[in-house]
Subunit: 220 residues, 2 copies
DNA sequence: GTTCCCGGATTGTAGGACAATATTGTTAGA
DNA sequence: TCTAACAATATTGTCCTACAATCCGGGAAC
């Protein structure tokens, strides 16, 4: 019953590339060639192609016919579009998660505490990390695989701002305050307030990102 | 500048399969083997595999390691999950579309008229067809490619109820009345009402589908 | 009837080949 | 010098073959 799930070569390569992208070893806009990655990972071109396709479907890479794939970059408008969709979906997720998290809020509170610590210690990496897990918590606890998967894909698109966002201490304070509003609404079992709070948080985050300089975005 | 965009072999195969699925020539749950489709379309296994992957990403096929792909079937719960996500996204789309369609409502009105005709003539095929285009109109007119693409994917999952839904005349009347509410809200430039109306319409549609017998769904 | 094992079918991956296309570099001309 | 046409090169798109890994069905043994 508990079969050893050996993951396919293509999947391993895909994971490796995804990790490299998120880790910043592959920069946005950079072109990836099949032959190079094949030899680097000691696999065939077929497997690399398959990995490329999965990552393209996951919005991590961009594909252009006869030109190969590049590490995906988003234009300002695409980021805007993304946050609109994400806002709607994350609002849904938080709303559905309220009763669940109200019943067992341990992890939520732990994350809140972790982010508070990070803010106090001015540790941006820690904050960013906890922030990611905070947003991932809601889709995880509700029982809707489609919603969870869709949100994961969207979050993938935003890997590139992990390093750039929240550089200003002021922003971190604001963001953390928004998180607190969400947590409080959850604890009060107030679904409507929670939805309102997460929606505004997403909108604020989107606005924050739009304030980044042009060279963080793909040309229109 | 206007380059002839020859579509790739894999894409052609993918389109052909998608069409066959939607047309009912490939039934839900049916297994597709690479070799068979390759010879049928006169292409190589590589191209078929690539087509499979795209269609899997589009949620039209289901993939199981070492077991190949099957025409996707949804369980009751998965349909429920789907309608929850779809409700959130289509609400967003309609809300954003209100000002646009208010300004030039020609196509919206034409579709409404077409559905009225279909109901009057008791032509289910015509109604189903117009219904599909009705729902596709909103993501199309708003300028958000991600939202449009995401909704398209979700709609893909529901191809299989094209034939089974709305068999009851009563249902068609109700559905058409819900459409009318949406159209009226758009014409009145009333975004909130339009959002409310589409949301309820999606919920009602989901409930309608859940009334289908078990054998239309994949086992839990 | 259940379990074990086998053989056939299918997928997963490698590797090579070559045409189609894109990119780059070079040369000729204005 | 800049530009345009062209040639050389690199890369992708597709096909082919091969074979190991895995799954599936059926028969043998218990």
């Amino acid at each position: 019953m508990t079969e050893r799930d050996t993951l396919s070569t293509a999947q391993q390569v895909a994971s490796a590339i995804a990790q490299a992208v998120r880790g910043g070893h592959l920069v946005p806009g950079q072109r990836l060639t099949e032959a190079e990655l094949a030899s680097r990972h000691g696999v065939s071109r077929s497997s690399v192609r398959e990995a490329f396709q999965r990552l393209t479907a996951d919005r991590l890479l961009a594909f252009e016919p006869h030109r190969g794939v590049t590490v995906r970059r988003l234009s300002r408008k695409e980021v805007d579009d993304l946050f609109a969709v994400r806002g709607a979906l994350e609002t849904l997720a938080v709303g559905l998660a309220v009763p669940v998290l109200r019943a067992s809020p341990a992890r939520l509170l732990a994350l809140q505490a972790e982010m508070d610590d990070a803010v106090a210690a001015n540790d941006m990496t820690k904050f960013s990390n906890a922030n990611t897990r905070f947003h991932a918590l809601f889709p995880e606890v509700i029982d809707n695989a489609l919603l969870a998967e869709t949100l994961t894909r969207l979050s993938n698109s935003l890997y590139w701002l992990q390093f750039r966002m929240l550089v200003d201490r002021q922003d971190v304070f604001a963001s953390n305050a928004e998180h607190r509003r969400i947590v409080e609404a959850v604890l009060a079992d107030d679904r409507l307030s929670a939805e309102m709070a997460i929606r505004e948080h997403i909108i604020a985050s989107g606005a924050l990102i739009q304030r980044l300089s042009d060279d963080h975005f793909a040309p229109a």
